[in-house]
């Protein structure tokens, strides 16, 4: 096998039979190329969807009150449901709730000022557990804590873009005072968020402080506009049970029909993520099936060409045999030729596929649902090996037959 003459013989044959070589190489290279590109595209879509969900906890349930659309228990249609701290505490006690937070909205009061710098930022009044729901990353100081809630402290956790706006470069914002909607707050923490620019332009304050300071004008100091919670590692079914229990609880407390879709909106992200995830799982499966079929087509193509090639060379084999070629030498020559041809073209296909992906990645604009296509090298190499092995076998069997053929019969072949 490591005999230089044999390699030269193979090189000579491959070089002189350009069309055949080209077709075989194309069948293999194309198969691998397509597989690599398909897998990468599938991965890109998967990465895209995961990027969409990266910002929020996927195991979360969000609850917003609405207006009733069904008359129930003597109450008319169109009644506004108002969630309160009591509801928050009641839901918090339900089994299966991991982290829970409420939110109070601050209408048109988002002006933030420090010295002569002034801008509007998104103010969110939350419970300490909100951190887990939005996957907020504290980079300096701390987040809102229970004592802040209890004592209604005027503290704020600011996004790093807020810091960059309000503070000089290198200035430590911790323990500094800023004015939010007319009241002085002390900065206790700085955070980052993977959600992008919008997320990093937010300011978190304790929900109890907000209820006291701004709640009065908007319907009571125990009002909660939104409740969000996570369900830990619960599966979809368990989270749906919890969802049903929350609905039942709130429906009884606020006397609306549990069937009323408008009275309370409950958004189970696990459900949504599961659905989207399912679509992508199916898509991935589809990519696999197509990739597999592409490889199969490659194998069939290579086998076919090898079969024809050996058939075409029957006479040559007869000539070689009549001048002293042993069956073993014929077998070695043709099998090795098939191996070299498929291995080289498989490698080229792999390289071309990866090259294309690299190219696409470097020129890829920010597209939703498609990010960072990658090839699983293990799979790509395995597919290449598979194709090389099948190409070699496809050369081996007819070669084996041809090696045993009687030279006269081979010579008679036209």
């Amino acid at each position: 096998m490591f005999n230089i003459d044999l390699w030269q013989e193979i090189y000579g044959t491959v070089r002189r039979n350009k069309l055949r070589t080209f077709l075989t190489a194309l069948a293999v290279a194309w198969g691998i190329f397509m597989l690599v590109v398909l897998l990468a595209a599938g991965k890109g879509l998967r990465n895209g969807i995961e990027y969409q969900f990266r910002d929020d906890a996927v195991n979360s349930i969000w609850i917003w009150p609405g207006k009733t659309s069904v008359a129930w228990g003597g109450n008319p249609i169109g009644r506004q449901i108002q969630l309160t701290n009591d509801d928050f505490e009641a839901i918090k006690r339900l089994p299966g709730v991991e982290h829970i937070t409420g939110r109070v909205y601050l209408w048109d009061e988002g002006t933030v000022r420090r010295g002569d710098k002034r801008s509007a930022f998104d103010i969110r009044s939350v419970h300490p557990a909100h951190r887990f729901l939005e996957k907020t990353l504290i980079t300096r100081g701390r987040y809102i804590d229970d004592i802040d809630i209890e004592q209604r402290r005027k503290v704020a956790v600011i996004g790093d873009e807020v810091r960059d706006f309000l503070f000089k470069k290198g200035e430590d914002p911790i323990a500094q005072w800023i004015t939010i909607a007319g009241l002085e707050y002390q900065v206790v923490g700085v955070f980052q968020d993977e959600g992008g620019q919008g997320e990093r332009r937010k300011i978190f304050i304790p929900i109890s402080t907000a209820q006291m300071a701004y709640g009065g004008a908007q319907g009571g100091s125990n009002r909660v506009n939104q409740i969000m919670l996570t369900v830990g590692k619960a599966d979809l079914e368990t989270s749906q049970q919890l969802e049903a229990r929350i609905l039942k609880l709130l429906a009884e407390k606020h006397r609306f029909s549990p069937e009323d879709k408008r009275a309370l909106r409950i958004n189970n992200n696990l459900e949504e993520y599961g659905e989207v995830s399912m679509i992508f799982t199916i898509l991935e499966l589809f990519v696999w099936v197509v990739g597999f079929l592409t490889i199969m087509a490659g194998i069939v193509g290579v086998s076919n060409i090898m079969l024809i090639a050996v058939r075409e060379r029957t006479r040559e084999i007869g000539i070689r045999k009549s001048f002293g070629a042993t069956p073993g030498s014929i077998l070695r020559m043709i099998t090795l030729e098939a191996l070299v041809l498929t291995a080289v073209s498989g490698y080229l296909g792999l390289a071309a596929g990866i090259g294309l992906i690299e190219l696409v990645t470097s020129f890829l604009p920010e597209i939703e649902f498609f990010r960072d296509p990658q090839v699983d090298m293990r799979i790509a190499i395995m597919a290449t090996v598979l194709l090389v092995v099948s190409g070699t076998l496809a050369g081996f069997f007819p070669a084996w037959r041809a090696a045993r053929i009687n030279p006269i019969e081979a010579l008679r072949d036209e």
Partner: protein
Amino acid sequence: MIRLEKVNKSYRMGKGALHVLKDLSLEVEAGELVSIMGSSGSGKSTLLNILGLLDGYDNGSYHLEGELMRGLSERQAAHYRNRCIGFVFQSFNLISFKNAIENVALPLYYQKVPRRRRNRIALEYLERVGLRDWAEHLPSEMSGGQKQRVAIARALIGKPKLILADEPTGALDTETSYQLMELLREINHSGITILVVTHEHDIAARTDRTIRLRDGVVVEA
């Protein structure tokens, strides 16, 4: 050189068998230039295939240079073909994608002679058959006579004791045929035994002895 004794060979044809060689015996001395004649179906090609170890025989015995050629494995047969016998075919049987020099060097490839050396030797042999200038040409660029001379160079390069030529002039015109027979005679003078299968009388007349076959038996030796 060659001794055949009561050799039988039959081919299976459907349910029956075609008995091609019937108790065939013949002898060829070293250094002879012999022709084998016979109409088609007389068994002359079969005989040549057996002599060339391209085909086996059913019973009898075949001695080549005193060695019994019987029940040889493919490997052994390949070895003898490589070392002792050179073939020349009617349809030249050159490898179409190899040039003259590579075609001539082929037997040396199977003798494991390094490439550079075998190409040098092949060039010498091409010179002997007057085709040195055609060394780099492919068979498709050569005339019939040239191709057959390349084939002869290829048959000679392995330094065989015996050359078997199956209708070597069958595809050539008369003048080229006669030139080719001259070449074979020259080679014969260098001590190599040559057997020419032909059905042309004028070709047979250019050999030293003619063996006539009819229906698988020798009618004249």
